[in-house]
C-alpha cells in the first residue's frame, strides 16, 4: 500500500470517528424534539384506545395510564424513553400488540426495497439524462430531457402514481394496481424463489417510477449543469489537449467530478425519499414504514411514530456520513473537516 493510500484511509477513519461522535448529540436532539412535539399534539393514544374499546371505567383507565407510563411527568417519560432507547427498546405498540421495533421491522424491508429501487432509478436516469443533455446541449435531445425533467419535477408524486395506475394497470393491464405481491399467489416472497422475486419486482415497478422520477428530474438538472461547468475547467482542457477521445474525457474526467453535487443532494434527500414513501405507499398500498407511520399518526400511536422518527433520523445521519466518505473517494483533493 502506498503512503498516500494509507494516509487517505487514516483520514477517512478520522472523519468517521468525528462524525459518529457528532451524531450522538444530534440523535439526542432528534429524540428530544420529536418526543416533545408529539406530546404537544392534542389527543393521546390512550384516549383513542379507550374510545375504540368503549372503556369508561376510571379504574381501568388509571391502570392503563400506569401500564403505559403516562402517569409520570413528561420529562420523566422522556428520560425513561432515552434510557430504553439506549437498550434498543423502542417501547410497545398497543395497536399492533407487539414491540415497536417488531412492528417497524415487519414493514422496514418493503420501504428499504422501495427507497433503494427509487434512488437507484433516480441516479441511473438522472445521471444518464444529465450527461446526454450536457453532451447534446441546446439540441433536440437537450430540450426533450429538460422538458421531461420539468414535467416529473412539477408533477405531484401521488398524481403521477394514480395516472400510472390508470394507464398501466387499468387500461393496459400490464402491471398490478398495488400491493407488494400477488395476494393468494404462490410467489410474492424471497422464499417463493425466482417466481416470488419476480412477482415482487412486478409490483415494484410503478411505485418505483412514481417515487423515483421526481428525484431523477432533480439529478438530471443538477448533473447537466455540473457537467457543463466541469467541462470548462482547465484539467479537462488539458486532457483534451493530450489527445484523449471525447468519451474518455467525459467518462474519466468530467463525469467523476460532476458527480459531486449529485452525491451531496443524495445524502440530503435520504430523509425526503423516506417522507415521500409515505404518500407513495398509501397510493400503491405498499406495506412499508410509510403506511405504518400514516396509521400511527392517525391513531396517535406515539411509540411507533417516535420509533420511526428515531430510525429515520438514524438513516439520514448514516447516509450523510456515507456521503462524506464517498466524497473523499470521488475527489482525493477534498479534506472534510
Amino acid at each position: 500500500m502506498t503512503g498516500a493510500g494509507s494516509s487517505r484511509r487514516m483520514a477517512a477513519l478520522k472523519l468517521l470517528r468525528r462524525r459518529l461522535i457528532q451524531a450522538v448529540p444530534l440523535m439526542l436532539g432528534v429524540v428530544v424534539i420529536n418526543f416533545v412535539l408529539i406530546h404537544l399534539a392534542p389527543g393521546s393514544f390512550l384516549e383513542l384506545m379507550t374510545a375504540e374499546n368503549q372503556v369508561s371505567d376510571p379504574a381501568t383507565i388509571a391502570l392503563l395510564r400506569k401500564t403505559y407510563g403516562l402517569e409520570d411527568p413528561t420529562w420523566l417519560q422522556l428520560l425513561k424513553y432515552i434510557w430504553a432507547l439506549l437498550h434498543f427498546d423502542f417501547g410497545f405498540s398497543y395497536r399492533q400488540n407487539m414491540p415497536v421495533i417488531d412492528a417497524i421491522l415487519l414493514n422496514l424491508p418493503a420501504t428499504i426495497l422501495l427507497m433503494v429501487s427509487s434512488i437507484a432509478l433516480a441516479l441511473a436516469v438522472g445521471v444518464a439524462a444529465g450527461v446526454v443533455a450536457s453532451m447534446k446541449v441546446r439540441t433536440f435531445w437537450d430540450t426533450i430531457v429538460s422538458v421531461a425533467a420539468m414535467f416529473f419535477f412539477a408533477a405531484p408524486s401521488f398524481w403521477l402514481g394514480i395516472m400510472m395506475i390508470v394507464l398501466f394497470a387499468v387500461k393496459l393491464g400490464w402491471l398490478p394496481v398495488g400491493g407488494m405481491a400477488t395476494i393468494g399467489g404462490t410467489g410474492g416472497s424471497i422464499a417463493g424463489g425466482a417466481g416470488g422475486i419476480l412477482d415482487i419486482l412486478h409490483h415494484l415497478i410503478l411505485p418505483t417510477l412514481a417515487l423515483g422520477l421526481f428525484y431523477a428530474a432533480i439529478y438530471t438538472r443538477v448533473m447537466r449543469s455540473s457537467m457543463l461547468e466541469v467541462a470548462q475547467l482547465d484539467f479537462v482542457r488539458t486532457a483534451r489537449a493530450k489527445g484523449l477521445s471525447r468519451n474518455q474525457v467525459t467518462v474519466h474526467h468530467v463525469l467523476r467530478n460532476a458527480l459531486l453535487p449529485v452525491v451531496t443532494i443524495l445524502g440530503v434527500q435520504m430523509g425526503t425519499v423516506l417522507a415521500g414513501s409515505v404518500v407513495i405507499e398509501s397510493v400503491f398500498s405498499w406495506p412499508g414504514v410509510g403506511s405504518l407511520l400514516f396509521d400511527s399518526v392517525s391513531s396517535r400511536n406515539y411509540p411507533v411514530v417516535l420509533g420511526i422518527m428515531v430510525l429515520g433520523s438514524l438513516v439520514v445521519i448514516t447516509a450523510n456520513i456515507a456521503v462524506d466518505l464517498v466524497y473523499m473517494w470521488l475527489d482525493p483533493r477534498i479534506e472534510i473537516r
Partner: protein, 535 residues
C-alpha cells in the same frame, strides 16, 4: 312464538329513492352456485387495529371479524330474527329471563365443540364487559343447565325485540372459552388470528395489505361456504380501490369503497353493480349536536333555529352527490319498526331561524352578529369538513358567527366526548333498529359519560325523557313500546339538542359476477357464507 319477532321489508325505501338506476341493482343467485375460487373484498376504510376487537372497535374490525365469528342470532332482510349459533330463544312469562337453545354439532376452527360454557363465558366476560356493556345494564347473570341450553337473567322485564337484537348485535359473538379464559381479552394474541365458528377460517394477516381466510370445511351449514378462499384487502385511497376494482383485482367493496362519481362510472361500464341494500340495520347519519353547557342553548328556540338555518338538501346534493337524505329525528327513516315522520319539522327556513333567535332574546348587534359559536366538524370523514363549511355559511346568514375547526379523529374524539370543547359539533352516528340504548343514550342522563365517544356529548337530559326511556326498556307489549318510542322521537326532535342533519346512503359496489351479496340488513357485519362468483 320464539324467535320470529317481526316481519318487515328492508331496503325498499332506499331503492325507491331512485338514486341508483335499475342497471345497478345487485345481482342475485341465478342457476346453480359455482363452487370454489377466491373472492377479494374491500371496504371504504382502513386496516383494523386487530382482526377482532372484543369491544367492537369500529367498522373495520367488525368487517374483518364477522367473517370468522358468529352470533347466536341473525336478522334477515325481511326483518325476521333467526337463529345462528342458537336454534331458538324464548322468554319466561315475566320476561325477566330467556332460555336459549344452542345449535348442536357446532365446532370451533380448532376442532373443539362449541357448548353452553362458551356462551356463558362470552356473555359474562365479553358482552357484559365490552361488546354490549351499555345494553346489559339490567343483566343479572347467565346459567347453563346443560351443554346446549343457557338461561339469561335480568333484574327487570326485557322486551323480546330488545333481546333478539342483543343476540344479533354486530360484535356480540360467541368466542371460545378455551382460548380467552384467564387472559385479558383486549390483548389476547388470538385477536390477531381468531379461532371461531364461522364459515371462514383465519389463515394469514399480511399487515398493511390483506387478510386471507379459507373455507371452514367443518362448517355447521352443510355445503357452505361455496368459495374456497376469501381475501379482505385494504387499499387506503378510494381512487386506488376504484382502479383495483376496474382492473379486476377486487370483486366487491362494501361501505362506500369508491368516491361517488366513480360509482356511476363503474356501473356505466356494465361490469359492476351498486346497491344501497345491506345497510338497513346500521344506518349512518351525520349528526349536529349542540352543547347544552353553553347558556346560549338553554332556550329551545335557539337550538331549533340552528337546524332551520342549515340547508340539508344542498348538503345531500353537493357533498354526498345525492347519496343522502335530510334526517328528521333520532330514529332513522329505514327503521320500519319504530320510525315516525310525525315530529317537529326542522326544515330549512332561514326566516324562521332568525325569528326564533329574535324571540329568544338574541337580536342582531351592530356588527350583524347575534353571538359567536365554535363549530367542530369531526375530521374522521372528509365530508364532515365540507358540511362544516356549508353549516357555517347557513348560520352566519342568520347572524350567528362561527369559528369552524376540523380536527383529526383523535382530537375530535377528545374535544367532543372528553373535553366537551365545542358549542356545536358535526359528528356521526350509526343506529340499529332497536333504539335502546344505541339511540336513547344520546338523550338520557345515564348517556352522559365523559371520555366515552358516541354518547350524550350535548349534555341534554330531562327527567321526562329519562323516565320515558326507562319505560321503553321494560315495556314488553310491542304496540305500547312503539307508542313510547314515537313519543320519545317527538320530544327529542322538539328539544333539538342532537339531531341527524342527514341520513347517509351507504353503497356496495360489486362485480356483476358476484352472486348472493347485499342480502343481509347489516352486510358489512355478515358472515358472507353464501356468496359465490359466477364464471
Amino acid at each position: 312464538m320464539t324467535n320470529k319477532v317481526s316481519r318487515r321489508v328492508f331496503g325498499a325505501g332506499a331503492l325507491a329513492t331512485g338514486l341508483i338506476g335499475t342497471s345497478s341493482l345487485p345481482s342475485f343467485a341465478q342457476g346453480d352456485p359455482k363452487r370454489g375460487g377466491t373472492l377479494v373484498a374491500t371496504w371504504g376504510g382502513g386496516e383494523p387495529q386487530a382482526c377482532y376487537v372484543p369491544a367492537g372497535g369500529g367498522s373495520s374490525p367488525t368487517f374483518s371479524s364477522s367473517k370468522l365469528f358468529e352470533r347466536l342470532g341473525n336478522r334477515r332482510m325481511d326483518g325476521v330474527f333467526e337463529g345462528e349459533l342458537a336454534e331458538s330463544w324464548k322468554p319466561a312469562a315475566d320476561f325477566q329471563s330467556y332460555t336459549v337453545k344452542l345449535r348442536k354439532g357446532v365446532k370451533f376452527h380448532d376442532g373443539k365443540d362449541m357448548t353452553s360454557a362458551d356462551v356463558v363465558f362470552s356473555i359474562d366476560e365479553i358482552w357484559k364487559k365490552y361488546a354490549a356493556a351499555s345494553a346489559l345494564t339490567d343483566y343479572v347473570g347467565v346459567e347453563a343447565p346443560d351443554a346446549e341450553t343457557v338461561v339469561v337473567k335480568f333484574s327487570k322485564p326485557v322486551p323480546e325485540f330488545f333481546f333478539s337484537s342483543l343476540l344479533c348485535g354486530s360484535v356480540n359473538y360467541i368466542v371460545p372459552k378455551h382460548v380467552y379464559a384467564g387472559s385479558d381479552p383486549i390483548t389476547n394474541p388470538a385477536n390477531n388470528a381468531p379461532i371461531a365458528t364461522g364459515p371462514w377460517k383465519f389463515k394469514e394477516w399480511v399487515r398493511g395489505s390483506h387478510f386471507e381466510y379459507v373455507k371452514n370445511e367443518a362448517y355447521w351449514r352443510p355445503g357452505f361456504p361455496y368459495m374456497d378462499r376469501l381475501i379482505i384487502r385494504y387499499v387506503r385511497d378510494p381512487a386506488g380501490r376504484a382502479a383495483a376494482m376496474e382492473a379486476g383485482e377486487i370483486q366487491i367493496g362494501v361501505f362506500n369503497p369508491v368516491a361517488p362519481p366513480d360509482i356511476k362510472r363503474l356501473v356505466a361500464t356494465g361490469k359492476f353493480v351498486a346497491t344501497p341494500k345491506g345497510y338497513e340495520e346500521g344506518v349512518w347519519s351525520t349528526s349536529f349536536e349542540v352543547n347544552m353547557r353553553n347558556p346560549i342553548f338553554a332556550k329551545r328556540e335557539v337550538r331549533q333555529a340552528m337546524f332551520h338555518a342549515i340547508d340539508r338538501s344542498m348538503i345531500a346534493k353537493t357533498v354526498y352527490y345525492g347519496y343522502a337524505r335530510p334526517g328528521t329525528g333520532p330514529v332513522f327513516s329505514p327503521n320500519k319498526e319504530f320510525f315516525t315522520p310525525d315530529t317537529y319539522k326542522t326544515v330549512y327556513d332561514p326566516k324562521k331561524a332568525a325569528a326564533l333567535l329574535d324571540a329568544a332574546g338574541y337580536p342582531k348587534k351592530g356588527d350583524g352578529k347575534r353571538f359567536t359559536l365554535n363549530l367542530l366538524a369531526a375530521g374522521w370523514f372528509t365530508e364532515n369538513g365540507k358540511i362544516g363549511a356549508i353549516v357555517k355559511q347557513g348560520l352566519e346568514d342568520v347572524g350567528v358567527g362561527i369559528n369552524l375547526t376540523v380536527p383529526d379523529r383523535p382530537t375530535s374524539i377528545k374535544r367532543i366526548y372528553s373535553d366537551y370543547d365545542f358549542d356545536v359539533a358535526i359528528s356521526n352516528q350509526a343506529n340499529p333498529s332497536e333504539p335502546v340504548p344505541s339511540t336513547t343514550q344520546y338523550y338520557t342522563s345515564d348517556g352522559i359519560k365523559k371520555g366515552v365517544p358516541f354518547r350524550n356529548a350535548s349534555g341534554f337530559h330531562t327527567p321526562e325523557v329519562d323516565a320515558l326511556v326507562e319505560k321503553i326498556k321494560v315495556e314488553t307489549d310491542p304496540a305500547k313500546r312503539k307508542a313510547m318510542v314515537v313519543e320519545f322521537q317527538k320530544i327529542t326532535t322538539l328539544e333539538a339538542s342532537n339531531l341527524p342533519l342527514l341520513e347517509l346512503e351507504s353503497i356496495t359496489v360489486a362485480s356483476v359476477k358476484v352472486q348472493n351479496h347485499s342480502n343481509d340488513p347489516n352486510y358489512l357485519a355478515a358472515s358472507w357464507y353464501d356468496i359465490w362468483l359466477a364464471s
